[in-house]
Amino acid sequence: MFRVDLYPTHEKDGMKMRMGKALPFGTTIVPGGVNFSIFSRDATSCELHLFKKGEKEPYAVIPFLDEFRIGNVFSMIVFDIDYENIEYGYKMDGPNDPKNGQIFDKTKILLDPYAKAIGGREIWGVDPDWTEPFQHRSRVIFDDFDWEGDTPIEIDMKDLIIYEAHVRSFTKHKSANAKYPGTYAAIIEKIPYLKELGINCIELLPIFEFDEFENSRISEETGERLVNYWGYSTVGFFAPKAGYAATGKFGMEVDELKNLIRELHKNGIEVMLDVVFNHTAEGNERGPYISYRGIDNKTYYLLTPEGYYYNFSGCGNTLNCNNPIVRNMILDCLRYWVSEYHIDGFRFDLASILSRDQNGAPMANPPLLETLAFDPLLGKCKLIAEAWDAGGLYQVGSFPSWGRWAEWNGKYRDDIRNFLRGDCSAIRGVIERIQGSPDLYGWENRGATASINFITCHDGFTLMDMFSYDEKHNIANGEGNNDGGNDNNSWNCGHEGTTDNQEINLLRKKQIKNAITTLMLSRGIPMILAGDEFGNSQFGNNNAYCQDNEISWLNWDLLKENEDVFDFFKNIINFRKNHPVLRVSHFDSYYTKTGYPEISWHGEEAWNLDYDSDTLTMAVLFCGAKEKHNTEEDEFIYVAMNMHWEMRGYELPCLPDGKKWYISINTNMNSGEDIWECGNEILVGNQKEILVGERSIMVLIGK
């Protein structure tokens, strides 16, 4: 095809250019050159600086001519660029008047907010040249990955089983035996493992480009370097973290990540990203110029009337999410990840910030959240909110949803933890949580699938640590053990930390089994923390955000040591998959065609749970009618939970004629007898009553 706009109209210092296309923002490869486009409301001038990869001085500086600006957008096509081997940045001039919000500095070189790849930190942990003013360097990418027909897989929300993992932690430890440890590519090696476990969605901690050296320091306690390990601090929203790619040093992180996603999809596993739109890596007034503040400080950030940064994120600044420009950037970003990377869903870090207006006040119908809920491109992708922020907004159960948004259910975590450790007052909460939290999600067209149920996540103790430590042990973080939450609701089972005491170790494993049984038998979407399935420990550290070492890295040797725990996880996940009555998007609990309610509550006496008194002994009966759930037979699942320190007897509800109770799970038994595969369940000798061991859960099925 011939086009009339493929020819330069201007030339300067040997560089050829013409007016560009204002949209899309960022760079686009066009015939013969690259289109550059960038927005700034108040910039009076803008220069494009082109660098050979890694070089300090630009080989070309091209000012945007006045005639290359439309509205507040500078755009230009530059011809004959070896775009595979360049990096680019901008310098902008404009008002420097902090009180009025703008702090332009024409000496600062700035990253393109729409950069689709970013150089400067290509190999994880390798010290950059700190004398280099251009630390995070925009790059141009090929966007022609061959997806071989892949699309997002659109697993029904109610069937989702999420596995939360950190790219580096997952395979960095030598026990992971990965060829390129800690990378996107290494996750592919673990796909068979993930399939065996049975999860169908992997949620990755932030993978947008961040700077592991942000706030990096040497721990006085351990002498080790502490880094921004989790990456909850975005440098660029459109670029994958290059240091997570084995091929990052060749600038191929985009293809490597896409290949990972394609391979996961081929194996029926969705990919969800943990995204951080609440703040950026530029910090507060003393932070560096990376990009946004030098381009349009007032647009990108929430500022106090005096021009200081609001700090609702706890990280120095707050992105101005409900400003129309920033809102569009976020939308562009998510659309990009869905359409170009086939991402299946997003979990929004400190999402409540996204509901604040430009003065920081919470809004009833935040335009950004509404836009995302109704966007056509995001139409089938999962949207999950961490429904609180560091500024005191706590919206679990009340996050604006339009029937689209799910939430990390922090109350699920707290209630279940309290019950498991023997707090009898948790019982009323537990009853709500197991049903999918109708007290929180029983209106506004929400349902059980609005609840992401979890007992552990990256933030806090691992499951093993939850039963090994009463207190956090964060000394290695270098903050005098003051960081990390104190409301762990954990219990060390009688000894703080590791022990040779066999009784305690058995109890810990039993508690782990109790926890995962509760999680898998609750309505709502279960989420597992990577490594919990083999008893991974962070040695009591409940806030390992800065630990790039054995504290964070999953120790796969434990898989052998705790094979029984892994087997239990695998089987209980399978149990959930076999029983549709557990996986629903609604809260149905009324009488069904079976003659029983779909959910009923029991105590030590059948049909008689005293809702008004605190108790540690409770049972729930799920009855699923075959017509409704499309099963061969009606399902009867009876779950007796005894968090008491003594064995208790439970009267069993009667089954319809011809059916008998069989033991499917008994967490009080040793491995091999704790969970029975479908078809191999053990007939209960006394069909009237069972004895449930201390701190144990029994699951019976009626057939």
């Binding site: 070896d82 595979e84 060829k179």
Partner: protein
């Protein structure tokens, strides 16, 4: 990047020596196409032991070559890639475009066996 052209048992063997990247991908493509024909009779081995690096642009060149060959019904395979190059190809999802053999002889055996099928 230097290309060598050879023929063994009726099969074209193209040797790649040096780095294949955006600087030379276009020239390499032109040189390739002026020396080999892409049709249903094409049998081509891209012999890579001398190739120390392939960039994104280089991978795309190979991919386009593979797709063209496939469309026209010819056969193309790779041989003798050094480990790092092979790994990069694998990790970026380009490895399933060409079959990959340890050396030219094994690649020839494969193509000959394909002839019989």
């Amino acid at each position: 990047m230097e290309l060598t052209f050879d023929e063994k048992k009726g099969i074209k063997v193209v040797g790649f020596i040096g780095r294949l990247d955006g600087n030379n991908a276009k020239e390499v493509q032109e040189e390739l196409l002026s020396n080999i024909e892409l049709n249903d009779k094409s049998e081509i081995i891209l012999n890579m032991p001398g190739c120390e690096y392939i960039s994104s642009a280089g991978l795309r060149l190979l991919m386009i070559l593979a797709k063209n060959l496939k469309m026209k019904g010819g056969i193309g395979v790779l041989s003798g890639m050094i480990e790092e190059v092979r790994d990069v190809m694998e990790m970026t999802g380009f490895s399933n475009i060409f079959k990959n053999f340890i050396d030219v002889e094994t690649a020839i055996d494969y193509i000959q066996s394909e002839r019989e099928v």
